[in-house]
């Protein structure tokens, strides 16, 4: 690691003048971070509305949804969702949530805003590339959303887009024509954006750390963003060529993923020799590291916020970093557990199940570190603290159900059922979201210079925490009963008795969804008219709290900080209380 020889002063650039340069095409990593967060906010609202439609259709398939008929006459004539429209909603829900919310918000959004400040830099290493990566992500999101209004509707091959259903074209069903091509183009653009983003994160972390900010003294959220960008670099670099090959199969008539002799919609397809498993291998080689890209920033955020409200140092920070690194490495050896029953050689199923089970060990250690940190703490139950505790509990539930799916013998029964849906929603749909909520409540004072309302925050927490358990724990029971996922209606005899449980889940999902409006209202009201926030409302130690709220254009007002301590100085007698700021000259004595 090259220790920066000179202070990063040379990296300054003049504050922007015009409105465009200041707010729209800005080079400032803070504006770009907020732009990513706003994009993720729009995306999560879209994704959530789609999930409401899906859940309502599953519970009451024949009841028309008012207004939907006019909104999408072909997909839901008369308000009754057709099977292909349900699958299209599911595909868009999955793609929007995984890419444009769980990768964009915790990694690109908060990472862009806080990584430079936390390492004491003025900005990212390459601001122009940083701006480009946001605008390419926005274009990717618009290309994806345009699938709703173009051709015969959005694609219906799921966020995993297995070939040949995704590669054959409009013969494979409605939505597989223009819609699927837009999906592939959107994901290719998203990959380009993330590669440029990851490049920025790694270079900034390696080169632009301020004086005294050694790697060991970096806050744990910075560590998480750094390791996530290394994973992202390799994962998205594999998904991009895979999507390019898929687009060529769809439009240029090549046969990378389509075998010979397929008769679809009574037509013999003009392809030969391709291998559908090749797409699955390429996709999941990216796919599993992607789920760690979604959760690792959450690990970093929780490890960063928990000590602040426990008022004591995080237990075993070096072990935490070792676990993050080992998870990052192991995440590239486990992709086959998505394909146990896919027709791949059965022997490799055993091969992939071993690292999958081994990766539970670092995950268990990280969870135990958090629980160990809470032991002997002086917990302050602010909203971000509650969301951290919620994160730990929900991550444990999600992780435990991973034990079942990691074993090929049990996966024989549980693969493709709601057990899998419950598992990944608990770990990604809820735990990662709790990470984003905790980060928002924790850093809102710093980002917007205004405090978010604690009472609304607590209402939001309790309704969401209980709500998500009511929505996603029953999915495990449905999975045990063999309820197959991605079904737009339950007409099988053995599924009919499960419909009341689906109705319970739908009601819980609608209530939990409504609870998110509290968060939305709280966030918007805070940004417009929230009470002024002090520089360090939570009495935290890391560098972002040693500057003003919101920070000036170059983060530290021309005086880059000199770091004396690590981020873990809580519970020690310091100048301003039981903590010592990273940049404070005074030595950190024992408590």
């Amino acid at each position: 690691m090259s220790q920066p020889t000179t202070v990063a002063a040379a990296h300054h650039h003049a504050p922007p003048q015009g409105f465009l340069r200041k707010h729209v095409f800005s080079l400032d990593h803070k504006v770009i971070g907020k732009q990513y967060l706003d994009l993720a906010l729009v995306a999560v609202c879209t994704g959530m509305v789609l999930s409401w439609l899906m859940r309502f259709h599953l519970a009451w398939p024949e009841t028309p949804i008012p207004g939907l008929g006019t909104l999408s006459p072909s997909g839901a004539a008369g308000g009754v969702i057709t099977p292909e429209y349900y699958l299209a909603l599911m595909t868009m829900h999955g793609t929007i949530m995984v890419f444009f919310v769980l990768t964009t918000a915790p990694f690109a959004g908060f990472g862009n805003y806080f990584l430079p400040i936390q390492v004491g830099a003025e900005d990212m290493a390459f601001p122009r590339i940083n701006m480009t990566s946001f605008w390419v992500t926005l274009v990717a999101f618009l290309v994806l959303i345009s699938a709703f209004v173009v051709g015969d509707g959005p694609p219906l091959s799921g966020w995993t887009a297995y070939a040949p259903l995704s590669a054959v074209g409009k013969d494979a069903g409605p939505g597989q024509g223009v819609g699927q091509t837009l999906w592939a183009v959107s994901i290719t653009l998203f990959c380009v954006a993330q590669l440029l983003g990851a490049l920025n994160f790694i270079t900034t972390t390696l080169d632009l750390r301020t004086k005294g900010m050694s790697l060991a003294r970096m806050p744990y959220s910075t560590w998480a963003w750094f390791i996530t960008s290394v994973i992202g670099l390799i994962a998205f670099a594999v998904l991009m060529p895979a999507c390019i090959l898929l687009i060529l199969d769809r439009v240029a008539g090549t046969s990378f993923f389509i075998p010979a002799g397929l008769v679809i919609s009574d037509r013999l397809q003009p392809h030969a020799g391709g291998s559908p498993l090749l797409w699955q291998h390429l996709f999941w080689f990216f796919g599993h590291p992607e789920v760690y890209i979604a959760i690792l920033p959450g690990f970093g955020i929780i490890s960063h916020i928990l000590p602040v409200f426990a008022r004591k140092p995080l237990l075993g920070p070096r072990v935490l970093i070792a676990c993050l690194v080992s998870i990052a490495f192991l995440s590239y050896t486990v992709w086959g557990h998505h394909m146990f029953l896919s027709g791949m050689n059965p022997f490799s199923a055993t091969l992939f199940s071993v690292p999958t089970l081994i990766i539970t060990i670092p995950a268990t250690i990280v969870t135990l570190l958090w629980i160990g940190t809470i032991y002997g703490a002086k917990l302050r139950f602010t909203t971000p603290a509650l969301f951290c505790l919620g994160f730990v509990s929900v991550f444990v539930s999600g992780g435990i159900s991973g034990f079942f799916l990691a074993q090929p013998s049990i996966d024989t029964y549980l693969h493709g059922t709601y057990f899998v849906v419950g598992h990944f929603h608990f770990v990604m749909g809820v735990a990662a979201m709790f990470g984003i909520f905790a980060a928002t409540y924790f850093w809102a004072p710093k980002m917007f210079g205004r405090m978010m309302s604690e009472t609304l925050g607590k209402w939001h927490f309790w309704l969401t925490f209980i709500g998500v358990y009511c929505v996603f724990m029953p999915m495990h029971y449905l999975g045990l009963a063999g309820n197959v996922r991605r079904y737009s209606a339950f007409t099988d005899d053995y599924l009919k008795p499960l419909i009341p449980l689906h109705r319970f889940i739908t009601v819980a999902a609608l209530c939990t969804g409504a609870a998110q409006l509290i968060f939305l209202f709280n966030l918007i009201r805070t940004r417009l008219r929230g009470p002024k926030a002090p520089d360090n409302p939570w009495e935290a130690t890391s560098l972002e709290w040693s500057t003003t709220s919101p920070p000036p254009f170059d983060n530290f007002g021309g005086r880059p900080p000199v770091v004396q301590h690590g981020p873990n100085e809580y519970g020690t007698r310091g100048a301003a209380g039981d903590y010592v700021m990273q940049a404070s000259p005074q030595s950190a004595g024992p408590a």
Binding site: L195, L245, F285
Partner: protein, 216 residues
């Protein structure tokens, strides 16, 4: 769309007014090696992408007996020499500029070293047009993108590599403009990074030539 991983454009100090008579006196401390780190990471990404495509080619070749071997156009070997030559001229001019400006960090002595960079740009363009001509020759033989999986992979590999070479050319021309106008070490750091990227383009092409010659 410009090359996927155009070499990172390092921060330009506040756009100086057009070079006044006396070059700007303040010499800013040399920026950290971020351009260099950025290029190394970009190289890692590009390697991963081409590794994924290589594994896809190997799997696709084994998936079905329809892999049709064909003779690579001889022009590709000429193009290889052109690309290696362009790396050579770039390295020569980079070292010359570095040696010359050690003495006097002004603008004037550096100008004669730029000839090499211009030559590199020309050779780069020659390489890209050579590749397009090679495509034409292949098309003349009736081997198009969708004709056979082997030709499909040939076109995908050469297209992606060509795209990255064009990105490299854009980066080089950007660095060239800064070399002519900005004093101090910053442009040289950028030149060293751009040269590293360009040499990687050469190495990547050699790798592609080997796997294409053996498998296609």
């Amino acid at each position: 769309m410009p090359g996927i991983a155009t070499p990172p454009a390092p921060i330009v100090p506040p756009p100086a007014a057009p070079p006044t008579v006396a070059p700007r006196t303040i010499t800013e401390p040399s920026p950290p090696q971020s351009a260099q780190t950025g290029v190394w990471i970009a190289i890692g990404t590009i390697c991963m992408s081409f590794a994924a495509l290589t594994s896809a080619m190997v799997v696709r070749q084994g998936a079905a007996p329809d892999w049709r071997h064909f003779q690579l156009p001889q022009l590709l070997y000429v193009n290889t020499l052109v690309l290696l030559a362009s790396s050579g001229t770039l390295e020569w001019s980079r070292r010359r500029i570095a040696a010359v400006s050690v003495g006097a960090p002004g603008l004037v002595p550096r100008l004669d070293g730029l000839a090499g960079v211009y030559l590199t740009l020309a050779l780069g363009l020659l390489f890209v047009s050579g590749q397009v001509i090679a495509w034409r020759q292949l098309a003349a033989q009736g081997l198009f993108l969708a004709t056979a999986p082997s030709s499909a992979f040939f076109y995908v590999f050469t297209a992606l590599h060509g795209l990255h070479v064009v990105g490299g050319l854009l980066g080089l021309s950007y660095v060239l403009r800064r070399l002519r106008r900005v004093a101090g070490p910053a442009p040289q750091i950028a030149l060293r990074a751009a040269a590293l990227y360009w040499h990687f383009m050469g190495a990547l092409w050699l790798y592609l030539l080997v796997i294409l010659a053996t498998r296609v």
